[in-house]
Structures are given as structure tokens and as C-alpha cells.
């Protein structure tokens, strides 16, 4: 009996310790950001590594999602004779939900894993410890530029995902199916609000960028300095970041869009 209580208490304390560890890591990361801004070249190089290199997969996925959404929604909408609203539905689902969320999931897989593996190997090779020895703070030199690059890249990628998705829907709806082009755009313009739909989507994508980059950096920095440790940390990055994004998405959607 007392053993069970002991285990329960141990588990709770362990959870609290992990949570506190995450929080202090985030605070240290944020504190390192202004220092890193003094060397913008580092941030730019990371935007290139994180943002530019993810561009192809994001654009290709956006186009594919736009194609498929248009085909599927056309099937449902034509039952009600409302196929003119195809553009509106595709636009709202992309800018509000799918753009930020799918981009974040792809981002965790494409950029998050490479961040974790890179930093995990730096730690395994004791490069971070060496920096510390030379009185260079690895947080401001290595982690903070990557963190800021993630924060900048993610909204841009999400915007491009939505934009390309809408173009994809246009290709399928107007050019292949034959929905009227004027109705496609005008019903979309009448129903989409810049601040409410597009603005909230961008806020979402910034929050997701923070989650993905933070989780990737944390897992890399706290990885065990062995090959298995790095492999394990990379897997955990994808799992934790994806779950975090989905939970955060529910919270943000409930806050932003619960009122009509």
C-alpha cells in the first residue's frame, strides 16, 4: 500500500520536474534571443536551413491538399446545389485550420527532426561543452538563432501553404470541373474576413512554430549523448511536437472561433 502511494508521489514529482525543466529552458531560450539578434547573419542562415529548405514540401503538399479538398467538397456541395461556394469552403478550411496545422505537422517532420539531430550530435560530440569552455553561451550562439528562425519561417510557410492550396482548388474547381470563375472568387471574398480568418490563422501558425521549434531544440539539447539517445530524441520530437500542435490547435480554435 505504502509502495503504491510512494510510486504515485514519485510519478507526480517527476512530471512536475519535467514541466519545470521545460519552462526554465524556454525562459533561458527567450533570454538568449536578444543576444542572438546582435548577429543577424546566424538567424538568416538558419531561416535558409529551416524555411527555404522546407519550401518545396510545403508547396507540394499545399497544392495536393487544395486539389483534394476541391474534389471532395464539390461532391458534397453539388448535392445541395451549392457548388459555387466551393472556393469559400476551401479558403476557410485552409486559412483557419489546415494551413497552420498541416504546415506545423510537416514542419515538425521536416525541420524539427533535423534540428534535434543536429543539436543532439553537437552535444554527443561535446561541441556544446567546448563552447561553454570558451565562454561562448551555446544557448545564444546555437539555440536562439534556430528558435527565431523557426518563429519567422513557420507563419510564412503556413501562408504559402494556404495560398497555394487556394490556387490548387481554383485549378480543380474552375479549370477541371467548370465552376464559374467569377462566383468562385466573389463568394470567397464575401465570406472571408481578413482579420478574423486570415489573421487568426497567422496567429495560430506563430504559436505552432513556437511549439515545434521549442520541442525540437529541447529534445536535442536534453538528448542522451549516445547514438540511441539522439535517435530516441528525434522520434520524440515528432511525437511531442505533433501532439502539442493538435492540442494547442483545439485550444486556439475554441478561443478564436467558438462565437459565430
Amino acid at each position: 500500500m505504502s509502495g503504491a502511494i510512494e510510486r504515485l508521489g514519485g510519478a507526480v514529482l517527476e512530471r512536475l520536474r519535467v514541466f519545470g525543466h521545460h519552462a526554465t529552458f524556454l525562459v533561458e531560450l527567450l533570454r538568449a534571443c536578444p543576444v542572438a539578434l546582435r548577429r543577424p547573419a546566424l538567424v538568416i542562415a538558419q531561416i535558409h536551413a529551416i524555411g527555404n529548405r522546407s519550401l518545396v514540401i510545403i508547396l507540394a503538399s499545399g497544392l495536393a491538399v487544395g486539389f483534394v479538398l476541391a474534389l471532395q467538397m464539390y461532391y458534397a456541395l453539388s448535392t445541395y446545389g451549392a457548388s459555387q461556394s466551393l472556393g469559400l469552403i476551401v479558403n476557410l478550411s485552409l486559412t483557419r485550420e489546415l494551413g497552420p496545422v498541416v504546415t506545423a505537422l510537416l514542419f515538425a517532420g521536416r525541420a524539427g527532426t533535423s534540428l534535434t539531430a543536429e543539436i543532439g550530435l553537437m552535444k554527443a560530440g561535446e561541441q556544446l561543452a567546448a563552447m561553454d569552455m570558451m565562454a561562448i553561451d551555446p544557448r545564444s550562439r546555437v539555440l536562439a538563432p534556430r528558435f527565431m528562425a523557426g518563429l519567422v519561417s513557420m507563419p510564412i510557410l503556413a501562408i504559402l501553404f494556404s495560398a497555394v492550396g487556394i490556387l490548387g482548388a481554383y485549378i480543380v474547381a474552375v479549370l477541371l470541373i467548370g465552376v464559374d470563375s467569377g462566383n468562385f472568387w466573389s463568394i470567397m471574398q464575401a465570406g472571408v474576413d481578413v482579420r478574423r480568418d486570415i489573421g487568426n490563422g497567422i496567429i495560430k501558425s506563430i504559436a505552432f512554430g513556437l511549439i515545434c521549434t521549442f520541442v525540437a531544440l529541447y529534445q536535442g539539447y536534453e538528448a542522451k549523448a549516445t547514438p540511441e539517445g539522439v535517435a530516441h530524441a528525434t522520434t520524440r520530437t515528432v511525437v511531442v511536437a505533433s501532439l502539442g500542435v493538435l492540442i494547442m490547435d483545439f485550444v486556439l480554435t475554441a478561443l478564436m472561433f467558438s462565437t459565430p
Binding site: 538568416i44 535558409h48 510564412i156 494556404s162 495560398a163 487556394i166 472568387w185 474576413d193 481578413v194 459565430p260
Partner: protein, 174 residues
């Protein structure tokens, strides 16, 4: 050289993101089609606004000429006070009337303004005197039933009037 090309690529990336945002805002949303900069405000009181919402369009002859700025209950008149923002260039005679209409069978509600014949026009802050409330389906049905009942009563049927009225709603449910 390699550093320069990285900066160029990042610049292109950010520029592409900006272009995507401009595309979303201008082509795929309503920014630019109606800017609320140059408008004047009119107020209209309605007995019942039905499902009218803030930011719903104000139309005249079907053309959107403004938006609804706010809706509130006037505590003295027990009527809904609706503030309309009308585009600056559009003026109406001071005996124009405002009606709450529905676009299509299932569409959203909007306010339609019908021009009157006066030479004097509305200026900012005026109140539209002639208004017509939203059509509420329940009151429409009960009106119809009462007129049916009245017809049945006037044709000289011997049945007392309560019978058709109680039978009426039951019939409407089916």
C-alpha cells in the same frame, strides 16, 4: 559569395511569404473591396431584427453600399437600435425606408434601403423613421392561421371559434 547567395534566398523566401499574404488578403478575402474609411452613420430602430448580425451588408437596389456598425437594445423604446455605416458618396432622401430582408431562401439577413421622394437628404447621425422589422416565421404562421380561423368563422359554420384555432397549430405541425 556563398553567404551572399544565402541572404538572397532568404530574402526571396520572405518576399514570397509577403506575396502570399497579399494574395490572401486582396484576392481571397474582402480587404480592399470595402474600406470603412469614408462613411457616415445613420440609425434605424426596429421592433425585431430577427437574425441580423453586426457587419452584415446594407444594400439599396441590391448593391452593397455599407455595413452594420453595431446593434443594441434601446432601453427606453424597447426597440433594437441599429447603426448603419453608409459610403460617403451615397445619399438618400429623408423619407427613405429601411427593411430587414433575407438574401435567398437560407441566406443571411441584410438591411435594404428604399429611396423616398423628398428633396432633403439624410445627413450623418440622422434616424431612419420608416422601418420594417424582420419577418419572423412563427408570427407569420400564426397570422396565417388566425386569418384562416376568421374566414372559417365568417362563412357561418356552426362550430364555435376556439375549435379551428386549437386544431390549427396541430395541423401546422404535421
Amino acid at each position: 559569395m556563398a553567404k551572399k547567395s544565402i541572404e538572397i534566398f532568404v530574402g526571396l523566401f520572405v518576399l514570397l511569404g509577403f506575396l502570399g499574404l497579399v494574395f490572401l488578403a486582396l484576392k481571397a478575402a474582402n480587404l480592399g473591396s470595402f474600406n470603412s474609411g469614408d462613411t457616415y452613420t445613420l440609425t434605424a430602430y426596429f421592433d425585431n431584427i430577427g437574425g441580423l448580425k453586426v457587419r452584415a451588408p446594407v444594400r439599396s437596389a441590391g448593391v452593397t453600399i455599407g455595413r452594420i456598425a453595431s446593434i443594441s437594445l434601446d432601453p427606453k423604446r424597447y426597440q433594437a437600435a441599429v447603426r448603419l455605416e453608409i459610403e460617403q458618396g451615397v445619399t438618400f432622401p429623408s423619407d427613405s425606408s429601411a427593411r430587414i430582408l433575407t438574401s435567398g431562401l437560407l441566406g443571411d439577413q441584410y438591411i435594404g434601403i428604399e429611396a423616398g421622394g423628398q428633396e432633403k437628404t439624410f445627413v450623418a447621425g440622422d434616424v431612419i423613421k420608416q422601418t420594417q422589422s424582420a419577418v419572423v416565421l412563427e408570427s407569420l404562421i400564426s397570422q396565417f392561421l388566425f386569418s384562416k380561423a376568421a374566414d372559417a368563422g365568417s362563412t357561418g359554420a356552426p362550430t364555435p371559434t376556439p375549435t379551428p384555432t386549437t386544431a390549427g397549430p396541430g395541423g401546422a405541425k404535421r
